[in-house]
Symmetry: C2
Subunit: 202 residues, 2 copies
Amino acid sequence: MVHQTCTESDIAGASFSIHPMSDQFIEIIKGALEEADTSKVHMDTDDVTTTVRGKLTHVFDVTKAIFAHAAKSGKHVAFEATYSLGCPGDSKGEAYLAEDEIPLNAEHVKHIKQRVAAKFSLYPLGGGNYMDVIYSQIEAMKQYVDVSHAHYATRLDGEAIAIFDGLEKVFKATVEGGSSHTVMTVSMSANSPSHRGTNQNE
Amino acid sequence: MVHQTCTESDIAGASFSIHPMSDQFIEIIKGALEEADTSKVHMDTDDVTTTVRGKLTHVFDVTKAIFAHAAKSGKHVAFEATYSLGCPGDSKGEAYLAEDEIPLNAEHVKHIKQRVAAKFSLYPLGGGNYMDVIYSQIEAMKQYVDVSHAHYATRLDGEAIAIFDGLEKVFKATVEGGSSHTVMTVSMSANSPSHRGTNQNE
C-alpha cells in the first residue's frame, strides 16, 4: 500500500523546498545545498522537495544552514518545510541515528544576519489535548522571536537563525511532552520586496 | 492569547504561496491573482502567504485557478498550500458562506494543460483512527492521478487540474467522514527543469 507510513522511531526528518524567486534559482539552490555540511543526515532531492532524515538536531541544523546560505544571495527566497517525528516512512536513514549530537553547521551560520517573516503550524497527531500543546508551545515561542496570529498558523518575525532555533526548541518540547507523532510546517520568506525582512549582509 | 484559534464552523480556508522561480515573479504572481475570479472568497495577501476563506468549493476553485494561471507563464512555479476546515481562526470570512456552490473559475481553467508533480499530506486532527482515514483517502486518490510514496507525504503526478480536483474530493471525504478539524498540505511544482512536468501549452 502506498501511504504516509508510520512506525515508532527516534528518526526525525523534514521534507522541504527552497524557492529563490530569481532566474538564477538553480545556482542559488545548488550553491546552498553544497555549502551546507550534510554528512550527519540522509538527504535526497527530487523534483518537488528535498528530504533530510536523521537526528532532530541535525535535521534542523541542516535546513537552517541551507536556508541561510540561499537567503544571503540577497534574492527573494522562500523556504517551505514539513518537519516530522514519529512517522519515518521507512528505515533508510536509521544508520544516521548513530551520529553524535554536535551540529556541523551551527557555528558557521550563527552570525548570518537575515531578517525574515515566517508562519508555522504545529500538529501533534494521534489525539489527546493537542490544542493545549499547540497553545503552550506558541507561548514558549515568544521567548525567542516576535509572535503574532495568522490564519491557520502563527506568525514569527525576527532573525532567521533565532526563528529556526525557536522552532527546534518548540518541536523538541512537543515530542518530549509525549506527542507520539509530531508534524510542524514552516513557511519562511527572506528579502521580499513587500516586507521588512531584508538581508543585512549587503 | 495568540494562537491557531479553533472553533466549529463550516468555513474552509487555505494559506498558500505561489513561488515563480523567475526575475519576473512579481508580475507572474500579480497577474495570476488578477486573472482569477475571487469574488466568492475572502482573500488577503501578506508578505509570507495569501489566505483565502469561504466555502470549500470556492477555496479549491480559486487556488487551482491562481496556480494554473501562474504556471502557464512557462516559468518554474511552485505552489505551497495548507488547506484547513474546522479551525477558522476568526469569523471574518463567514459572510462568504452565503455564496452558492457554483465555482467561478472551473470552466475557465479546466482546459489548461499543465503536467505537475505534487506531494500532499492529510492530517485529520483531534484523534481517532486518523491513520485509517489517511490510508483510505490515499487509496481513493488513485482514481484520479498517479500516486506513489514519498517521505512524510504522498506523491501525485498528472495534470494540475486533475490533481486539484482529486485533492478537493479527498478533503471533502475526510470532512464528511467525521473529522472535526482537517488539515491538508500540498506542494506542487510545474515546469521544473529537473522533472517531467512541462507546460504543454507552449
